[in-house]
Symmetry: D3
């Protein structure tokens, strides 16, 4: 399931079996006073592997590359602990990975995004790469692709935000030793809505997180539980597998 | 109102008055059997100028640059008549224009998009440019920013599509001599939904238009009328002016 | 005649008929105290369309793309109102347009320049693109290509300069409402010759316009008349059509 | 110790304490018939973390970024399972990470290489980045920096090679479940020396691995044991910590 | 006089004395059946050094960098023996040299061109570099800057062409052993005028030399003599020194 | 032997004879108080030509391009007199030359390095270019390729350094008029070892020369003699010819 743990001969077999190749793309960036910087990378990789397992259970094959932890996080930089690329470097690394994969005979690629700051860039990369590479490239951010499933589980938020009820829950499920619930109070009630959301109607701006939240948190981590995290993983993986097993998704460009 | 028709001294005055600078970004691409390739450029520029007028009526100033007609239209290329850039060239020209504008003392920029193929790229450009330039850059595609207003006017579609009821109506309002309504039958009923829409959930793919519509039309141009077009322009310009006059939109990044 | 006003099917026909594709390349830059910044774009597009009409009268076909208004105008920036790209962005957009045109089957391209600051760059682009694209690319600046015709009409200048007798006359012919003849006195007699012209012999330097003229004008706009402008357009269009209809011009590279 | 497991506040403390930042740079590439493609990434990250621990034992601080698994592996591509970037993308990602680290106040960077194909590129990047960034950047490949220690432990090789006695031993120590010792016979005795080594004297060529070894192995994996692997880790980490704690190493450029 | 033959301390003195720095830019390209490929490099360097000597005789200082022999010669490639860069590489090397020179305190740069294929590119580079570097950069091609002097000496041509009366004469003056006058008959009378010259009026095209001359020669090498070559060098150097000693040439941009 | 002195027809013959093409790559950089900045270029070109002659004596053909004097010398810049490129420009020019050479039918390339600062970059370029170009590219720095021969001749150093016993001797052999032996005392005993050498074990850092030597010299120029220089040239050329005539060196990548 995990590309890195396979041998070259096993990966050649995977290519011959037309396995779906999933590249989780995430980040290392501040996650408030209570979470480690690896959150997006950890969640993205976990979601991808769980989805791949469900795909395998349905008789198709999927293989998951290691997470790309070098994302686009300029908006988090002022908090420290954050790593960011610029767009050309980010494009270069995503394109290099995809080209390598195709040269080995794979024909289906998923850019599974797990970090908000990457969303626009990955769509742009999909637009540029697809006609050049000539294969189906499927791109999505997991919390949008599984939004309905997530909304049903969360109690205090309508959607996954940042270092919030959802992300904190999922970290409690897989890395409880890295969640400082005793520090969660420092994140309380200090974020404001995005200016574009106020104005509405698809209006877009790039803002720093600091302009919206002094703690770096957006959402409500106090409502997090490990059990909720486990249910989120299960629901998200199922939603993703449902979509990725849909043959229509893989029509040629 | 139109940058190109002003003298340098008038534009220096505009900068001193902190005018909003609107850059319409569009394309030259096939618009089915009945419309000229200029549709997106014509509509984008018209929408921008009408919005600027409404902004002026409310006591603020706005100035509209000429439309950038060199957009991203690889997905339309197989139909002929289409011009496309790649992303680096597109970024280069948008960035060059914005940097010029800022050097003259303007401090507020709108990237008003009028072509679907530009949407992801303009968001990526906004993400890259804003922290480098340090000023508020507002980006939107006009039919998303004015979606509610548009939906109320259209009779056979829920939203603006391509060479459709909405675009054909607006062209009938401003360039009736270029609309070949006698050819509109060739566009009838031959598009299929986007594969990503079928799968849903924020899943994204780049597809050629040819994969979805043999005529190059998506939507229903037969329902178009000039009167509907005029109402669309009025409603869209009002919606955009409402948003752009909102002071909250212009907070520093 | 105008690419933007044609439908895709009409442009496919144009390609089959081996039409000459003319790309006017100009700028938005200060034009002294009396003219709008659109001068070069307006004149370049007008000249191109008029030349195309004369070509059609002679039984050949030509089609004119919209003017590229994003030129190279760093030397005008200190006056305000000016937009400039750097060379890589300028190259990217010109190359992207030319590549699009060739993909649709056209085989003859004219880069019709209407802005002094673009001249060297367009020659460099012609040098780089021609061997890569393998088709004849014809490049010229209209006032050099029609220099003899222009010289006969002007009364106080030997050649077209900047915001001068020639440009002001042509603007009076097509956009009289944008010419502030009451401000023309501010441009009087305040330019000095280019240092390279003083030294002579092909010596070249890049200078700001401000180093040569406090008003941003070079030449004598006071002698301008609309009638002279109309004669200039007629003479220039004829001169260009003469050249472009010469079959020798279109030999393979 | 591991950057990814720390919170932003902890990383801000690390920067204030002038911690050494170690970036392990490796690859995903074929490792013969018996090893997974993650070998270089696994070993590079393990070596880095163990060295950081030893540095901490000596009273200094070090923090280890996640391994960059996107290396330069064109020479392995024909075997499948391999991911490679080109140089500009590789440079972009390394530079992006280093620039982020410095913006948070860190002042000492180690590019700890764990993949032969990266060696030249990382030196070139060090040459380019150091004068631009103005801080000490220390670059090395771990098996050269610890060559003496490694040579003492190996029984059938003088140095670490590829999928060999050393790498297989270290994998047996940390990921025994991924080592297919029953397949090791397929790697037997089928590599030839590098042509440059035959000619000697610093002569360099780029060659595919396939030109030298049909199995993709260079060296002798049959002599591998987990115990040897553990001793290798210990010796390498000690050697690296010795060097990195040397204050002379950190003089300004 | 020659940068390469000076020590660092001597060049520091040169900078303090505000010496003019001359960079001869040329090429290695076919020069017909009778001349070596070094012609443009040899002549460019010789002309530069002789001009520098004359400048010194007039009490100013000039220093000549080694010739850049990596020019733009795609149009000569089909003849063999030719080296060409693309524009970005050519720009990179010219810019790198100029930036180095300025960092040492020099303030006046001459790009002395000795190869037709470089002319447009060097003007573009001058346009791009001057506003960025902020110092006077003087660019010219020596046979245009000294056209009048050259015309007086030549007997069968009006101007310097390629492997012609002028170039062959100058090579006879400085490298007679490399001129195969016995092969000069192979170059006889086989070139045709440039298509742009036929059409006239500043019309420009890029053409291969092979399209105009089967021998690779343009002009009349049979009329060449060493004595004429010596007179050409003397006249050209004098003309260049006259121009370069003109203080007006060195006004700030 | 020297590409620049040959005609195009002679170079076409060279290509047909499968001649080895040697590109000497060097620099213009400070060489202490007693040597001109051309040292690396002069020595690199001389070594290359002498090696080519020895190759010819053994019945093979070799041709030497002019030296690339635009190297990577940022570490010498503070002394003045030095020219440096950045890596992308350096790569561009090396790649442009190699591509030109291959287009003429040559199939064997040597990047003969004569400047320490180029070593890492040339290896990186070799890694990038070889798989793209598909021919054998041999890269080495001459003093490493001939290290044993050099060590036998030097009396006060173990290896060639900078402006040292070896380089000064070789300059005394070929350009005695440019060696200021009366200034050699200024270079005495003022360099310290490289910090990486102190730490050992393949540890690498980029340092300025100024950090190690106030005179810019590393090594002992006082021991230099012309006779020693001549012996060095002879020994180096022989060592290089030995290697380059080895057929094994030229196997396909």
């Amino acid at each position: 399931m995990e590309w890195r743990r396979l041998r070259a001969d096993q990966l050649r077999d995977m290519a011959r079996a037309d396995a779906i190749v999933i590249l989780p793309v995430a980040s290392l960036e501040q996650h408030g006073p209570h979470l480690p910087v690896e959150v997006d990378s950890m969640l993205g990789e976990t979601v991808a592997v769980r989805a791949a397992r469900k795909i395998a259970e349905r008789g198709q094959q999927a293989v998951v590359l290691p997470v790309l932890w070098t994302g686009l996080s300029e908006h988090h930089m002022s908090f420290g602990g954050t790593v960011t690329l610029d767009f050309p470097a980010f494009y270069g690394v995503v394109e290099g990975v995809c080209r390598s994969v195709l040269r080995h005979g794979f024909k289906r690629i998923v850019l599974l995004n797990a970090h908000g700051g990457n969303e626009n860039a990955l769509r742009t990369i999909t637009d540029e790469m697809t006609p050049k590479l000539g294969v189906p490239i499927v791109q999505f951010t997991y919390w949008y692709a599984a939004a309905a499933a997530i909304a049903k589980i969360l109690e205090t938020q309508g959607a996954l935000m940042h270092a919030c009820e959802a992300e904190t829950s999922m970290m409690l499920a897989v890395r409880p030793e890295l969640v400082a619930m005793d520090r969660v109070g420092m994140a309380k009630a200090n974020s404001t809505p995005d200016v574009a959301d106020v104005v509405g109607g698809g209006v877009y701006r790039w803002r720093t997180i600091a302009a919206r939240s002094s703690s770096g948190v957006i959402g409500n981590p106090e409502a997090a539980t490990a059990e909720k995290g486990e249910r989120l993983f299960e629901a998200i993986a199922t939603a993703l597998a449902d979509k990725l097993c849909n043959a229509e998704l893989w029509e040629l460009p």
